[in-house]
């Protein structure tokens, strides 16, 4: 039984709408910072801590970094759908290469960092995991990342390497696969499930393991371990491509490498 609104009421409604829009507009405008360069960086989740600690770059270049972290593949999909990123820092070379092949990249694919893989368990290690081979023991709960998340292809190489080592249990890779209870969206989500103690183990990047105080790492022999290569590009969707190129150059240079090294990253292989 609602009556049609009277016209003065409609006028007030319209005025209110205009006032609200104006307020929203000014709020959005002032949230940007005057005169500073705003650099939008899409980065693999595993880079979150290292990039949060780039004050030296930001203050030296008067840049505000807007950071979006997720699985490199999710970020690539977002860029393919037109998301504006001035720099895309992936945990692999495949995702930047795919963008480049689609003509969505301005300039080159720049490898800028590497990291070994690590097996993490909760500090209390409730499942009593002592060696990488225990990952295939029945009853262990392993969290992994989704099949298309970069860590998963590195992890598969690692598992295959481990399976060739002396003492490897028969059907090691299949045993590991049978223990996976969840495919998390990105490597940080997998790490979080181990930190919470919900999962017994996960394969993550050594840099992630170094960043967490709630997990322990299980030693992986150097001959089996895998180095992940991180590569960066400036997508054609960039709003400030020059700033994107400058940032990637800095990351690949001595200062950027030193900043990354503090978080357990190594030079690109």
């Amino acid at each position: 039984m609602t009556r049609a609104p009277s016209w003065p009421a409609a006028g007030i409604l319209a005025l209110t709408a205009v006032a609200v829009l104006a307020a929203c507009g000014s709020a959005i405008a002032t949230s940007g910072t005057m005169g500073r360069t705003v650099l939008t960086v899409f980065a693999a989740a595993s880079l979150a801590d290292a990039l949060a600690a780039t004050e030296s770059y930001r203050s030296a270049t008067d840049t505000t970094i807007v950071l979006s972290t997720d699985s490199s593949t999710t970020l690539r999909t977002q860029i393919e759908q037109g998301a504006a990123a001035d720099a895309f820092l992936a945990a692999d070379t495949a995702n930047p290469d795919t963008l480049a092949a689609a003509g969505l990249v301005d300039g080159d694919v720049v490898p800028f960092a590497g990291t070994l893989l690590a097996i993490v368990v909760p500090s209390a290690n409730p499942a009593g995991i002592a060696s990488p081979f225990d990952l295939a023991r029945p009853g262990i709960k392993v969290v992994a990342a989704g099949a298309r998340v970069p860590i998963s292809s590195y992890a598969m190489t690692l598992l295959e390497n481990l399976a060739t080592l002396p003492g490897a249990p028969a059907g090691f890779v299949a045993g590991y696969a049978a223990n996976v209870v969840s495919h998390e969206d990105n490597v940080r989500a997998a790490l979080a499930k181990v930190e919470l103690g919900e999962a017994d183990a996960a394969i993550v990047y050594a840099s992630d393991a170094a960043a967490s105080s709630a997990v322990r790492t299980i030693a992986i022999s150097a001959q089996a371990n895998v180095v992940a290569t991180y590569a960066a590009v400036v997508p054609t969707t960039a709003v400030a491509p020059a700033a994107g190129h400058a940032f990637i150059k800095w990351l690949a240079g001595p200062d950027g490498q030193a900043a990354l090294a503090r978080f357990g990253f190594e030079p690109a292989p």
């Binding site: 969290v143 998340v149 495919h183």
Partner: protein, 266 residues
Amino acid sequence: MTRRLILISAAGILAIFLALPVATLLGRAVGSGGLVAAVGSPAVLAALSLSLATTAASLCLIVLFGTPLAFVLARRRFRGSGLVETVVDLPLVLPPSVAGLALLLVFGRRGLLGGALDAFGITIPFTALAVILAQVFVAAPFYVRAARAGIAGVPRDLEDAARADGASEAGVFRHVMVPLALPALGAGLVMSWARSLGEFGATILFAGNFAGRTQTLPLVVYAELGSADLEAAIAAATVLVLAAVGVLVAVRLARRGRAVDLASAG
């Protein structure tokens, strides 16, 4: 005349804003022809059957425990009933990610009850049971609210008349209250089902994401996007849109069919 134009265009802008994304999604799904292929894909089919099974289980739990709660809230005034109503309403306004985290803190292996459950060999996270618990947590309020309003709307006179004619309390409940409150119960149930089907945030935090085990349709949308498979994501999303539209149509039909005002039940 201009004011009328302003009103209509302001109203139209929001209506279009709400309609356009869903219409575009459906258009993409139909236009690309990917819908037919992807609906037949194992990931989408597995998620569909898991979604149907878990939401069915959730609905059973919600009716089994929600109906008595709705009855108590509708018919008994007691100290703290306002608090209980607030607690029941809370999941409606909580972000689902908060619900997932909170469930983890209770039912997780290191959670409040997780240790005791572990002693019995029961681990909830990463299982279909976790999916169901997440759905019950977020969806039960829809049913309880609707059922409470429906039961409260049954005239006491009719119940008293039935009692005067010798009906037992159980008979009054079965033959007077339930039939009269049925449209409200049905509408609440349908809304509850829709919310269960769409549940995402609590599920991915609490139950994880494993195809065939905990990966429901909304998780497929997210996971396929992460796998750069936009067509599969759109297909799963389309199934959810069609289910949601079906629910709203069902609620409208139920509302038209009975004189009971279900608007007050929302």
